[in-house]
Symmetry: C2
Subunit: 221 residues, 2 copies
């Protein structure tokens, strides 16, 4: 287990390397993650931009076994429905099947993560696309900072929204005020096995359009 | 203006430094930004996680003066409404007043940015909080990667959603299919003046809660 001096050193990882080797790490050891490490990761999360620089976030640090158990239950409830669709969609696709098996492992061991972060945002979600985008666009950049910082220090982490399927039950579980929306759940812990490493993506040229949708001057065809 | 070798070197910036000095840079020079630089920034954007690893994104690279002008118009329309509220809220707050003046500058010069990126996502936005969070949580991590990569190479960039106030007009302007949602607009260019630098945030201890909302063991009171 790294101690805090390793944490500071880890955060010096070159930006491109951190991004190129970020993965969802779901298989976590139950060994403790100290407060100083969690605070450092969250401090970098709050460096992310927010609409009008409002910084309307609150972060829940879940360590209590009872609260973790409640979140694990909520997660399993959503996963028991969702996995049927996911399994059908993943048929014959090895990389998708691998993700599903990790998500299943996560569902089975959700409460064993040493710490679970729930990222919340104050304010109202307006129904327009602009309203929704400006709301969630004021929390997911922070979530990504959190995930990149975790990656840089080798702390396993993965973003999920499954435990949030019931706004009411989440609010009751965490004691949230009505004006606060839980937007992201991130179990964190030291990786069990492989952990982080290079990822593959579709060539960027295929998903770039110049000026009008469908104009792909960068694609080699 | 940096050339491409500077770009690769810039992306080696330590992760913590990139995050700690990320700002919304809105005052941009009209000087060109080459395709290679834009592609490299977008390549890192697509390294971000997506729900179920779906990678359902498309990126519009806007260079055409006519299309930029349309986006600038949409931006000014939303800003003309929004600024009244923003000005009232910012009264007596120097840092908010400084942001408003930069947003006003951006509105006045929107079409002069050498390149504007519009980040789009396929799929349906389900009405539940979980549905919305998992949708926008599959594009804003990529947006944040894009902004951090721009910061690392010193390329000015800032996230806005104002031009997206009319889904119909955005779709027409960019020729987007009905199944695609434009989620974020990022004018990019080399900074006019100060550019990036350290930011301040509320102490993390004030916005951390342990297990239940309101339990703040980290806050010094």
């Amino acid at each position: 287990m790294p101690d805090f001096s390793d944490v500071s050193a880890g955060l010096q990882m070159p930006l491109a390397e951190a991004m190129q080797t970020q993965r969802a790490v779901r298989r976590l050891r139950p060994d403790p993650v100290d407060d100083e490490t969690v605070l450092e990761v969250l401090r970098l999360a709050t460096k992310a931009p927010t609409g009008g620089n409002m910084q309307g976030w609150e972060f829940m640090v879940i360590r209590d076994p009872g609260v973790k158990h409640q979140l694990a239950r909520l997660n399993r409830q959503a996963w028991s429905i969702y996995r049927r669709f996911a399994r059908r969609a993943a048929r014959g696709n090895i990389s998708q099947a691998r993700i599903l098996s990790a998500v299943q492992w996560q569902a089975d061991h959700f409460e064993d993560a040493p710490v679970i972060i729930v990222c919340c945002l104050h304010g109202r979600v307006w129904p327009s696309t602009m309203g929704k985008a400006s709301f969630f666009g004021s929390i997911f950049p922070a979530v990504q900072n959190l995930l990149l910082a975790a990656r840089a220090i080798g702390l396993g982490a993965a973003l999920t929204t499954l435990p949030l399927w019931s706004r009411t039950l989440v609010r009751r579980t965490l004691g949230l005020p009505h004006t606060l929306t839980a937007c992201a759940v991130i179990p964190m812990g030291w990786p069990m096995g492989g952990g982080y490493g290079p990822t593959t993506r579709r060539p960027i040229e295929e998903i770039l359009h110049l000026d009008h949708y469908g104009t792909r001057p960068y694609a080699s065809e």
